[in-house]
């Protein structure tokens, strides 16, 4: 139990340090969720991501689809009344999963050939930057 707590605490501080965001400042107003353009595909709402961090239940975030659906559009950050940049927290969760694996959540073979030929370079460079390390 102690070991598990230490691991969870480590994850908690890693997300805070890597994102540079003090999520305890969040007052759960929900403006981030209200403005999110890809909310319908998320299993946890942006506000809930902050809530689980405040509750010390950050392990729930590692199995959530939400950080992978986030398109880093920065709308949540633009509207946050406490100046939190949630896109940085989403990135800190993604890199937590990607860095140790040194592996990919996306490989070129997964992209259908027809789509691969049509996609602009910018889509491929940004996609591989976000989903691989």
């Amino acid at each position: 139990m102690q070991k598990q707590n230490n691991a969870v605490n480590k994850l908690h501080s890693e997300i805070m340090e890597r994102s540079g965001q003090d999520f305890y400042n969040c007052i759960q107003c929900g403006k981030c969720t209200a403005g999110c353009p890809v909310l319908s595909a998320m299993d946890l709402h942006p506000r809930e991501v902050l809530l689980y961090l405040q509750l010390g239940q950050e392990e729930k975030l590692l199995s959530s689809k939400t950080p992978w659906i986030c398109a880093s559009c920065f709308t949540c950050g633009a509207r946050c009344i406490k100046n939190l940049d949630l896109s940085r927290i989403m990135e800190a969760i993604r890199v937590k999963i990607l860095r140790p694996r040194g592996a990919a959540c996306l490989s070129p073979g997964e992209i259908p050939k027809e789509q691969l030929e049509k996609l602009p370079q910018q889509a491929l460079v940004s996609g591989f930057r976000k989903y691989t390390r």
């Binding site: 602009p120 370079q121 930057r129």
Partner: protein, 265 residues
Amino acid sequence: MSYLYFPGCTLKDKAASAMEKTALMAAAELGLPLEEIDEWQCCGAVYPLTEDELITLVSPSRTIFAAKDRPVVTLCSACYHVLKRTRQRLAADKDARDKISSYLEEEYPGETPVLHYLELLRDELGWDALKEKVKMPLEGRRLAAYYGCMLLRPAEEMAFDNPERPRIMEDFLQALGAEVITFPFRTKCCGAYLAVTEKQVMEDASNNIVKMALEYGAEELTTSCPLCRYNLEQTPAVKEGKIKVSFFSEPLAEALNLEVQEVTN
């Protein structure tokens, strides 16, 4: 004075070569010569969002270092976003600056200005001067500006325009003589790189934007982001020809009456 020009990966490809060709022709016509940076490297397309990630800042930093203190001009919204934020980070974060300088084995050259082409038009030329250069005003053309995310947010770092109520692209289209349509979703995200992994999510996001533009009576959406253009073009309304999507420099070249028939997109 000539400006340094950073093209980025996508403008050298068929997906966005139309933006480069029309913008460079227009710049020459308007007396704003752009000189392509030697041996430039891809900016990385996205800015790294964790405090401890410096390695992906190296490539955009090379551009900032190479420019010395000359202004760097970009066309692509993503290049503008990454280079501008890198510039801001190098200026504000001594630790990051020293590590990158040491890696590149080069002295930090000072605060290189990063400009978007639209800023060059607004601040160096001016809208009135642009209006005077217009030979074929786009009268009666119902054009809407689509900004997307990368030009505007985060507002403190990008310092481009009001993040919720921008006007630079509307002022630009107005100078070209178009009937400017301002619609509510012009700063909403198109789905960006979800085009690669979550096609349906991207299509839903883009569809909302295009439907809103149509509802407000736009016949053409204009953007400076190649990925926005691609995503918006995957929607039924664009595929059915109800509305088209262009790069902002295409109506510019048209209004200046420049011969651009070699551009195929």
